[in-house]
């Protein structure tokens, strides 16, 4: 049994490697600036969605303000680049500062609300993220308010081709790091909490500690993705704190499939490509400018009918098929046995 699991694991890892390798070859065979930009955005949001998946998919925590960590990352990088010069060191330092701030805020929110029922965390994150939105709007000397500001970036970020690889690499590394995280004993406890909190508590786990840990990890990863996002745009304004950013993460993880990490990458691809496609249809009919409606309806359908998303549904289908085959085999063997008897 253990051998089988290990084998399946390595097969999965190989499939992931093939997938990532083809993404790495893509810009070499298809040279298009708009494709680079679209893919870079997909990678960045995939990182963000993976961090959300840790909360929602693995531990069953609902956050409606996860975008605030994304915004913290974006603003931190932007402010460092603008005020201290466009060097790689400042870029990394900006991300580091964002990581520290995100860790502090997520720790505080977690300690306050994760003791209570799930909706408290959802409400508190929503409220804090709105507060940060207002702060970004009002603290004009630092953030230039809703108008935002542009800034220059080092060459490796400026160049679409090289930044494609930076983001791809970041996504791959974080994917494997997070996969290791959720497969570790700590990750197993998180899953247990997600499936049955009372049971996990009865087994002697101090639930609150695990929940706070995952909330901090998710906040930190989201801050990194926000920093990359600011680097890509070379511009930041208050929209990075808007509720739409959180909704993006929610859509991506739900559509791709919660609790799989890889689903977040798929979901990010689906949502970003759909966004791109639907907004370009706006010339056909103005309703496509409101592409969020289609995404919202799709999201509702997913929540109600396919709560396990693309990857989850695919896995279920595979398992179902396996079961049916096993049964058929058993029936055949029984029949063969009868004939022989």
């Amino acid at each position: 049994m253990i051998m089988m699991v290990r084998k399946a694991g390595s097969l999965q890892t190989r499939l992931f490697l093939v997938f990532f390798l083809s993404l790495a070859i893509l810009p070499l065979i298809y040279d298009s600036r708009s494709l680079y930009i679209l893919c870079t955005q997909i990678f960045i949001f995939a990182i963000f969605a993976m961090s959300y998946d840790l909360l929602l998919g693995y531990t069953g925590i609902v956050s409606f303000g996860h975008g605030m960590f994304f915004g913290i990352g974006a603003y931190s990088v932007a402010i460092f680049m603008k005020n201290f010069g466009a060097t790689t060191g400042n870029f990394l330092f900006g991300i580091l500062v964002a990581v520290v701030i995100a860790a502090i805020i997520s720790y505080a929110i977690g300690m306050l609300s994760l003791r209570l029922k799930s909706h408290f965390y959802a409400m508190l994150t929503l409220a804090v993220s709105q507060l940060l939105f207002v702060v970004a709007e009002k603290w004009r000397s630092l953030t230039a308010g809703g108008d935002g500001f542009t800034f220059s970036v080092p060459d490796f970020i400026r160049d679409r081709f090289s930044f494609y690889y930076v983001c791809l690499l970041a996504m791959i590394v974080l994917f494997f790091v997070l996969r290791h995280f959720v497969q570790s004993p700590l990750g197993k406890v998180l899953k247990a909490i997600g499936q049955n909190e009372q049971r996990a508590e009865a087994l002697g786990y101090q639930i609150i500690n695990y929940k706070v840990i995952v909330s901090v990890v998710a906040g930190v990863i989201a801050a990194i993705s926000g920093g990359l996002y600011a680097g890509m745009l070379r511009f930041v304004n208050t929209t990075v704190f808007s509720i739409e950013i959180t909704l993006d993460a929610l859509l991506m993880t739900m559509i791709g499939g919660i609790g799989t990490l890889f689903g977040s990458i798929l979901g990010s691809g689906v949502v970003e490509i759909a966004h791109d496609g639907l907004t370009s249809l706006a010339k056909v009919h103005p309703i496509f400018e409101r592409w969020i409606i289609f995404m919202g309806l799709l999201y509702i359908v997913v929540v109600l009918i396919f709560p396990s998303g693309i990857t989850g549904s695919f896995n279920n289908w595979l398992e179902q098929r396996k079961k049916v085959r096993m049964q058929q085999k058993e029936i055949q063997m029984e029949e063969a046995g009868k004939k022989a008897g």
């Binding site: 609902v62 909706h119 409400m123 709105q130 909704l247």
Partner: protein, 286 residues
Amino acid sequence: MDVIINLLVNGLATGMLIFLLAAGLTLIFGLMSVLNFAHGGLFAWGAFGGVWIFGLTGSFLLSMAGAIVIGMLIGLILERFLIRPVYGDHIQQLLVTLGGMLVLSELLKVFWSPNPIPAAVPSYLQGSFDFGGIILIKYRLFVILVGVLIYIALHLLLTKTRLGLIVRAGVIDKEMVQALGINIKQVFTFVFLLGAGMAALGGSLLAPYSGVIFAEMGMQYAILAFIVVIIGGMGSVPGSAVAALLVGVLGSFMAYFVPELSLAVNMLLMLFVLLVKPSGLFGAKG
């Protein structure tokens, strides 16, 4: 002195509007354990629907009634098709009602426009009263009056009628109510529609009050209502009334004296309540 009275009236009027939103939220939560994130959408639809009907007919009473009808219709759809299928699963409920909110506020932008729309005050509520130097704006007093009437009506409904008795009993122990042979699902639907109607009424009252309406205001006020529900205690109508007035009055005073802190004060109040008494000032449920 007149400044203080004016600020108090402003705060009470805003508090009443938040109360209309929060009362439904807290009742729905208390009875069904559903945290309805689409509630702000109903509020915004009430505002847009009210302004639209006011523009068509010119009658403010009709526009309020119309807003309530619109809110209840949307509430009926939400309850039937979004909340009922996932009843009992908290995470799915949170997720699906947020999806409802998303679609509702985007639909507003499709039907009207993404740009803010001006809203007029009906002629007989324009202007102000002058009480010996203290000038009070008529419309604000009107909002307070409506809020008080709704609170009294809600209070009577909950304490004097059989239905209210069932609702209150359901908040305390819904299994027991069900065991007594009462179809609790029908009561859920009723309470949800009641909450939806109040939210839409709140929206239609807000429109002339703020003078301009936009799709995102649903979320803005919903956040205030969430804060109020946490402070007042989930499931408690008097709690949300007190908390709404507190938030409204504090907000209006802070906006005048220390504008930088006006939003932070609500947050700090909520954090304080979460730290000291997570079940809220009047709440029984934690």
